[in-house]
Symmetry: C2
């Protein structure tokens, strides 16, 4: 199978072998060594010197942790959304009693820094801004450096909480340099590991907010997670197979290096887009904001996306992602982590035959 | 290594092989078939005809789901605790704003049905009672049939929420017959699968409570989980390796059968206790309430539990659990799931040499 969805992503053979290892004691020295090494590597790719904590959950659980550990019911939040996952971040904040001001941009477009500044100045103050680094539902990467700078300028006190789930480890996010207070990712994306773990960075301003935050939390309490992390443990039993995988995949990533990995994703993203254009297919994202981890393409009028996906799967063994908007006949092609040009060729060779 | 902690438990070879399989699409037909089969098997072992839902989290996340999906802030809850995990259940309810009345029994003892009845009659009404089926920290199994009957008699409207994490799949809990509204377990216990998944049964009275429950929730929202389960999916990306493992281990368990599995755990529990007594070691649990999944033994005066554990690990490759109470020099020996008499022999042969 050629798994070309935007997560879970395929495991390299060495990672797959690690995942299938026997269980160990999560309160023992072997686990402690693994957790410490994983955490150090994650800091490199999160581009932070602050805490990075590991939770057993999907990325959505990590988003919930970002919210409930920094905010109180009634806190005002500016939820910048460029698609389904931006909307989800806002829904989580609402579910926990934040007063959410949505700032939505048209699907396929990035967030506009000027519009975000304006909202902060005219509708603020806000306790936090919610941002999506890479919107998986539309194949758009936000201009994070510009957005963060605009937010800090317009409202220096406001926290920046970032969903970096489908971007981190493939698209740069200079968390500390750009002033991202909290950044979330998940093991099954560019990290080439199985699902089961969310990873979350938490900077000093986030910890200060934690002290005052009154949203209820227990399982996702990051204060507890930090306390356990200091002795090389997690508060409760973690998803060991995913951690085994992440341990090995991060070693591979560290050997390749952040800049080389980012360049590789840029190259494969461009390759995918070139292939799509060569078939006469439209890219859904606005030019200049193409994601290097997932490409959304719209199909020609009259072509049913579901039938195309079914044929790709049954006849070619290729699994792509469906569009999140039932109104648009869209396919989403994941190309994060363990993927080569040959994998992309296979997709477009098949699409060429089908269309 | 002879992993004799009360979870994670060792994986049988067939399960381990399944865990290390390549990733699949969690929105595809292969996943749907797996999830449906796993769910059906779980219903057999949860002894329920109602919903059983699968969450990506540790067992503690499942306990949180039990609370937040049935209760509202200010609801009165009777938290029956016989140890650390009963206390944890109460802490979660408190964290989400329930008004918790603790009813603690001495460590090593089960809950007394008469005392529970009395608390319900004299301090009630309560929206829910929290119960632990099997207290991992003391090696005690509660008399669940008696407790449930007493609760239903004293207060028919009160929901019964059960932490069955370390008991289910090894010790019977007739959820429907005894009227347990919500029961939680976790994949890394008697299920012989890796950590990463919590499983939770939710009966009709729990769903009725869900409609009125106002505790905040998003990641652990069981209404969303049920909606996705109906189409063979989970709301967010699940811990696939743990699910692959559970899929295979449940087939093995179904082939062996519930009653045979329970009898096997009874046999191995008795074997472990006999071996402990033969070495002159004291069982921590009150007689008649011994757990068949974990045995807590107290060491002779002057023997340091930490040193014994360290020697077991480094010289014999045996990992046992530490006591949860720093005042008591205790070892906890897990014998749930994939364990044989020979594994128990190894522990006591080593202990005999050390002591």
């Amino acid at each position: 199978m050629n798994l070309r969805i935007p997560g879970p992503t395929p495991l390299p053979p060495e990672v797959m072998a690690a995942v299938g290892q026997q269980m160990i004691n999560h309160r023992g020295p072997e686990f402690e060594a693994m957790l410490r090494e994983v955490t150090e590597h994650l800091k490199t790719f999160f581009e932070t010197q602050h805490d990075v904590l590991i939770l057993t959950s999907s990325g959505t659980g990590g988003m919930e942790a970002a919210i409930v550990n920094t905010l109180s019911p009634g806190d005002r939040v500016l939820a910048v959304s460029i698609g389904a996952f931006g909307d989800r971040f806002a829904e989580i904040a609402s579910a926990y009693g934040a007063e959410v001001t949505p700032l939505r941009f048209k699907l396929g477009h990035p967030a506009d820094a000027e519009a975000v500044s304006k909202a902060l100045r005219e509708k603020g103050p806000f306790a936090a801004v919610l941002l999506t680094q890479n919107e998986t539902s539309s194949g758009v990467t936000n201009p994070m450096e510009r957005l963060c700078a605009a937010i800090h300028k317009a409202s220096p006190e406001t926290l920046i909480l970032v969903d970096g789930i489908s971007g981190l480890g493939a698209i740069r996010l200079r968390s500390d340099a750009w002033g991202c207070d909290v950044v979330v990712s998940a093991s099954q994306k560019a990290w080439m590991a199985p699902p089961g773990l969310a990873m979350i960075s938490f900077g000093p301003r986030a910890w200060a907010a934690y002290e005052k935050a009154r949203m209820p939390r227990y399982y996702f309490d990051l204060g507890l997670a930090r306390k356990y992390a200091q002795r090389g443990q997690t508060p409760t039993t973690p998803a060991l197979p995913a951690l085994y995988g992440l341990h090995v995949s991060l070693r591979q990533m560290a050997a390749e290096g952040l800049e080389a990995i980012v360049a590789r994703h840029q190259r494969i993203g461009e390759y995918c887009r070139k292939k799509a254009r060569a078939l006469g297919l439209n890219l859904f994202a606005q030019e200049g904001y193409y994601s290097n981890t997932v490409t959304a393409i719209t199909l020609p009028k009259g072509v049913d996306a579901n039938r195309v996906m079914e044929t790709l799967r049954t006849r070619y063994g290729i699994i792509v992602g469906a569009g999140k908007d039932p109104e648009v006949d869209m396919l989403r092609i994941g190309h994060m982590g363990y993927v080569s040009e040959a994998d992309i060729d296979a997709v477009f060779d098949a699409l060429g035959e089908i269309l």
